[in-house]
Amino acid sequence: MSNYFFEVLRSGINTTFQDKGRFHMQHLGVAPGGCMDLESFSISNALVGNTSDEGVLEFAYQGPLLKLIKGRTKIAITGNVLFQIIKSNQETINGECNRTYALDEGDQIDILATKQSAYGYMALEGGFDIKPFCKSVSILSRAQIGPNEGQKIKINDKINIKISSKNKKDFLTEFPKKNKSTIRILKGPQFDYFSKDSQKEFFSKNYKITNLTDRMGMRLEGSIIKNIVNTNIRSEGITKGAIQVPADGQPIILLTDHPTIGGYPKIANVISADYDLLIQKIPGEKISFKCVELQEAEKIYKEYLINISKIIKNIKEIN
């Protein structure tokens, strides 16, 4: 292990290490987990010259305050994030997302808040010095799996970093954020369990995101969806983005840290390309659903990936 590290002066609300997730284990009860916003995650790593398999810090709403005690590093923050860099001579720099900053020993990075969004990412050159569990550094705090004993980052924690950076060049990219309120979905396996009227309402009415929203799921509030067949099904494997409807008729979207199996009927499933957009919505915001077909969803996902590579290709050195 290297000697270079940050000290956590404030933990933030929900700060964890995340990569693309932990796979081939759902049959053992381990949810895939991983970063919530794949696009912001990928771009943060690319900015500091890492591959997209490197773990980063993910934070929600209020981020951490970190002090670089030993070493030098280069960081990039993505998302829609308000942050400051406090140099060791007390000079304060207002941070901009989607660019890199060099940090010297004694500098602090204060991630104040995510603006009109839920999740932000901080990647650093060379990556964090953290121990993977089953090939992933994603923290699944619900099952206490992953680095840091599977726990969220706490105050006074030490965060080790792999290398002390020598590279002083900074980079940036343009990363226009989408801001649609329509989430595209595919019909779910139990779509026909719901009354024709409810199906219609599901696609025509707005649903409000409630406070009961975290990495595991998003509870919505709106038009009651009436089940006319059975409010329980035999437990079956869960897929990220599945929209299940329990007996009370209020939909819950299952997110990244979802339970591995569940027994509620599913009316729909969010398409992969709109997942980042969905999870960046905050409680109180309203969303609506639009139905697409599978081939269309696959095509949109290809475009989504192409767009990420474009943003990465456009990374430029700052003169």
Partner: protein, 228 residues
């Protein structure tokens, strides 16, 4: 053989084996699960990320960047089910249980009008089959209990159960791998760790398709095994 294939979202497939839930249906599910797991470990089917068996379904999740639903459909349709084997990958386990840690045997005995010792005997003499593991890491759903022992969940689930608690509901038996809330009828506790984070190669003791038999141990033996 599955009865139908459906998509769930753009990166999931449901192999549906019909509505019935019994050992023979689940055995078919597990056979397909083993087959896919083997193919993936051989480096085939690149892009498949998870394969989750449940009582009567297998859900396959994949990375849409690397593979898509029609390719997996074609693969699934080409499988010759008569050639799939189950037991080459399944293991038999004996799990120690101390019935002195029961919480509900008195109530169960009253409800079912069966002597406590008889309940324990039936449990000990059951050859359990692991239908699925899930909800939380390492949590097994095992069957089939004798219909004489069929019970509902507790009306009010307990807020906290100790790790290792062994519970029964309907024809199923479970073991809580962690301290957690739970609504099952608790008949004992095992010192065996079902999910070991320190063992990266095989963190989960049981796998779907395995067989389990329980062995009765004393409190003293429990303490000894728990401290190992």
């Amino acid at each position: 053989m599955f009865k139908k294939l459906n998509n769930i979202g753009d990166c999931g497939i449901i192999c549906d084996f019909g509505d019935e839930v019994n050992r023979s249906v689940n055995t078919s599910v597990i056979k397909l699960f083993h087959h896919i797991k083997k193919e993936v470990s051989k480096g085939n089917l690149k892009g498949i990320l998870n394969y989750t068996p449940s009582y009567n379904k297998l859900i396959i999740n994949f990375d849409l960047e690397k593979i898509n639903s029609s390719k997996i459909f074609n693969f699934l349709k080409s499988i010759d089910f008569s050639k799939l084997k189950l037991f080459q990958n399944s293991k038999n386990w004996t799990i120690p249980v101390c019935y002195d840690f029961e919480m509900d045997l008195t109530d169960i005995s009253k409800t079912l009008k069966i002597d406590k010792d008889e309940i324990i005997n039936i449990h000990l003499n059951t050859d359990f089959f692991v239908y699925m593991i899930g909800f939380i890491p390492g949590h097994p759903f095992m069957g089939d209990l004798d219909s004489k022992l069929f019970l509902n969940r507790l009306k009010t689930p307990r807020v906290k159960l100790p790790a290792g608690s062994v519970g029964i509901v309907e024809k199923f038996c479970n073991i809580y791998p962690y301290e957690s809330p739970g609504g099952w009828n608790i008949i004992g506790r095992t010192p065996t760790k079902l999910f070991n984070k320190k063992d990266e190669l095989k963190p989960c003791l049981l796998s779907p398709g395995d067989s389990v038999k329980f062995k009765s141990i004393s409190k003293k033996e429990f303490e000894k095994l728990a401290n190992e």
